[in-house]
């Protein structure tokens, strides 16, 4: 486990919001919004991995895509530290910034164009960024494939000739082709078999060291995040409810939701019978979130105050462990020890 790099900040996200309008009626009047991402602020340090977890539909993928400007954020500023200065990521600058920020997609089956050869898929960003010489491009592709553990003999094949894990490697090679500083990994292993998951995670880890990458690693599963992340942010209904160093968050969760998620991690030791917290009810609709703390209807510890007041995300211990819970100081929540899970 790498020691978190406390150095400079690479990505700075402030007040990010992404609303999808709900239209109704003959004239498609906007009657409300699905607040997929609501006022999210965080920073990612250079070289670290920030894991983002949450149940499906909590807005984590939307957040990732918004940061990449693959969907237009509704509000907020995203800044990227490049070449010793800050650049705001917006619709105008994004084209220039593509080589600094890349993304690895969730579904290795849909993220590769079935009608293109591997070499062209991986080389495409190179071409788009002005590498005119085809030979050079293919040489580069060969190196990249090599780096992700594929051989040059794969270059002329089509995606359907590969397994899921191999495809994800191709996706990673593509993301790395421009030599980015930030890579958003949008649930890169969730579609893979468990056996393959570890391989890909290890690959990502190795690549991070080799290329000095910074990851924003999105997953719906805490166990996946635990290994690769330096810090973890937990999202619930479009908001970050807890964020902190991975050890601190896992061992001393400060939010009941995190606690519930942690309790769901299966323990490899069959003798240890952890008490699993079953979350009550479904995730409420982000179009119509409950008042107060969005988590209160499912929270074991909910009080009257939770029904009325939205808790702020505050640094609880002064050392960068944030949580958004009114009673975080009062509650004593159960975590897991860092080495406990596989």
């Amino acid at each position: 486990m790498t020691i978190p790099n406390t150095g400079e900040i690479l990505l700075d996200v402030q007040g990010l919001r992404k609303y999808f309008p709900i239209t109704k009626g003959i004239f498609r009047r906007t009657v409300g919004h699905v607040k997929a991402v609501e006022n999210v602020s965080f920073q990612v340090r250079k070289g670290e991995t920030l894991g983002v977890v949450g149940e499906s539909g909590c807005g984590k993928t939307t957040m990732g895509l918004s940061i990449m400007h693959l969907i237009q954020p509704s509000q907020g500023t995203i800044r990227l530290h490049t070449d010793g200065g800050w650049t705001e990521v917006n619709a105008q600058s994004i084209r220039r910034l593509r080589d600094k920020m890349q993304i690895v997609f969730q579904d290795p089956f849909s993220s590769l164009d079935p009608r293109m050869r591997i070499r062209d898929i991986v080389a495409e960003p190179l071409q788009a960024h002005g590498m005119k010489n085809r030979r050079q491009r293919y040489e580069q592709v060969e190196k990249l494939l090599d780096a992700v553990g594929l051989g040059s003999h794969h270059m002329n094949r089509f995606p359907h000739e590969f397994s899921g894990g191999q495809r994800q490697r191709i996706g990673i090679a593509r993301a790395l082709s421009l030599n980015p500083s930030l890579v958003v990994c949008d649930e890169p292993v969730s579609a893979l078999d468990v056996s393959v998951q570890a391989q890909v995670l290890n690959l990502l880890h190795d690549l991070q060291e080799e290329f000095g990458l910074t990851y924003l690693f999105i997953a719906h599963d805490l166990s996946v995040v635990q290994h690769i992340s330096d810090r973890v942010a937990v999202m619930y209904l479009g908001r970050i409810v807890e964020m902190g160093e991975v050890d601190s968050l896992f061992s001393r969760p400060k939010h009941p939701y995190t606690e519930a998620l942690l309790s769901a991690i299966p323990d490899p030791d069959p003798d240890v019978v952890g008490e699993q917290i079953i979350l009550q009810g479904d995730v409420p609709s982000p179009a119509n979130p409950p008042p107060g703390c969005h988590f209160h209807p499912r929270c074991l510890y909910a009080q009257e105050r939770c029904r009325q007041e939205i808790p702020e995300l505050l640094d609880i211990d002064g050392q960068g462990h944030f949580a958004a819970c009114h009673y975080t100081q009062e509650l004593s929540l159960t975590g897991v020890s860092a080495g406990e899970t596989a």
Partner: protein, 343 residues
């Protein structure tokens, strides 16, 4: 769903304005003296006539936009203008001729659908075997034949040789009854009116005149329905539940009838709407060959004589019809297939 319908209806005027605007744009390519040809239909009528007087009289020298505004103004007063080629107001011409086309379409749709499904079923059942090839070739030949050729051949055989199915909508004797006051024309559909008036003889006469054009139309459309039925049946036949049914030992007839055909017909039902539209709008040739006085023939002749008031009126009407029928089809689709939701 109501919102969906309302939304679609809201776009109706947009489409209709677009349609009429396009005709006016097309018309702006015409000179006043070309438009005069509506009034002087052939060189033989070119007597001691001053073309300029006619241009002035019918306002053909006005710019197109002025005419469009005038036309629109009249339209809002419910006046579609007067058709020179039909010798009557456009609205009346549509009201008189459309029922004929509807009658033809209604009578045609039954054999078209039944025959098409039948052929499609045969093809699917005998997938890639001689019977499949045979029925598909048969249908494609129908589709490849220009309809006037097939229509004229039918006319020759069934009227010229056998004397069974004459052209027109009614025989002379029936026509004279229908045109007199004793016969009430409720719908304009001769068959329906005949039954309502208690005249089975006229009903039979009307049916007799419908058979040959209906046959022509049916043969034309079979290929289309065969194609859809066949592929959707093949799709369903590969489904697990059909295999299960077979595995259960159900007879082929039961499997086909109960499981395959019923499910395969959903796409067929949805194309029927567009077929009705095609039949309503595309029967010009059949109407010409069989002297069947319907709206298609009227519009086609009108268009050839540059009778633009008529063309405007009928395209407006067709546009309306198209939007409405498509809407109905969409709604029906949603009703038939629970998987479809209207946005």
């Amino acid at each position: 769903m109501i919102t969906y319908i309302a939304r679609r209806l809201l776009f109706l005027p947009v489409v209709l304005i677009g349609v009429t605007l396009m005709i006016f744009v097309a018309m702006s390519f015409l000179s006043p003296y070309q438009l005069v040809s509506t009034y002087i239909k052939s060189p033989e009528e070119l007597k001691n006539q001053s073309l300029d007087d006619l241009v002035r009289k019918y306002g053909l020298d006005q710019p197109v936009h002025v005419r469009y505004v005038n036309w629109m103004r009249n339209l809002f007063r419910g006046d579609l203008g007067y058709s020179v080629s039909a010798n009557m107001p456009v609205a009346e011409a549509i009201a008189r001729r459309f029922p004929a086309t509807v009658e033809l379409a209604l009578f045609a749709i039954v054999p078209v659908i039944l025959g098409g499904i039948w052929l499609g079923t045969i093809s699917a059942k005998h997938y890639n075997r001689p019977l499949d090839h045979l029925s598909r070739t048969f249908a494609i030949v129908g589709w490849s034949l220009p309809d006037f050729v097939f229509g004229l051949i039918l006319l020759m055989v069934f009227y010229g040789v056998l004397g069974w199915f004459p052209p027109g909508r009614l025989s002379m004797w029936a026509d004279s009854i229908v045109l007199t006051g004793d016969f009430t024309r409720y719908t304009g559909l001769n068959t329906v009116d005949a039954l309502l008036n208690g005249r089975p003889d006229i009903f039979w006469d009307a049916v007799r005149h419908l058979i040959a054009p209906v046959m022509t139309l049916a043969y034309l459309w079979w290929a289309y329905l065969l194609r859809i039925t066949r592929s959707s049946m093949l799709e369903v036949m590969n489904k697990d539940y059909v295999r299960t049914a077979r595995a259960k030992g159900l007879t082929e007839q039961v499997v086909m009838g109960r499981h395959v055909r019923r499910n395969a017909l959903i796409p067929v039902a949805t194309v029927s709407g567009s077929m009705v539209l095609g039949l309503l709008g595309g029967v010009v040739i059949v109407e010409t060959v069989f002297d069947y006085k319907g709206l298609g023939l009227l519009t086609a002749t009108g268009a050839q004589q540059l009778d633009y008031t008529l063309v405007l009126g009928t395209t407006l009407f067709y546009g309306l019809l198209l939007v409405l029928i498509n809407l109905v089809v969409d709604v029906l689709y949603a009703v038939i297939d629970p998987r479809v939701r209207l946005e």
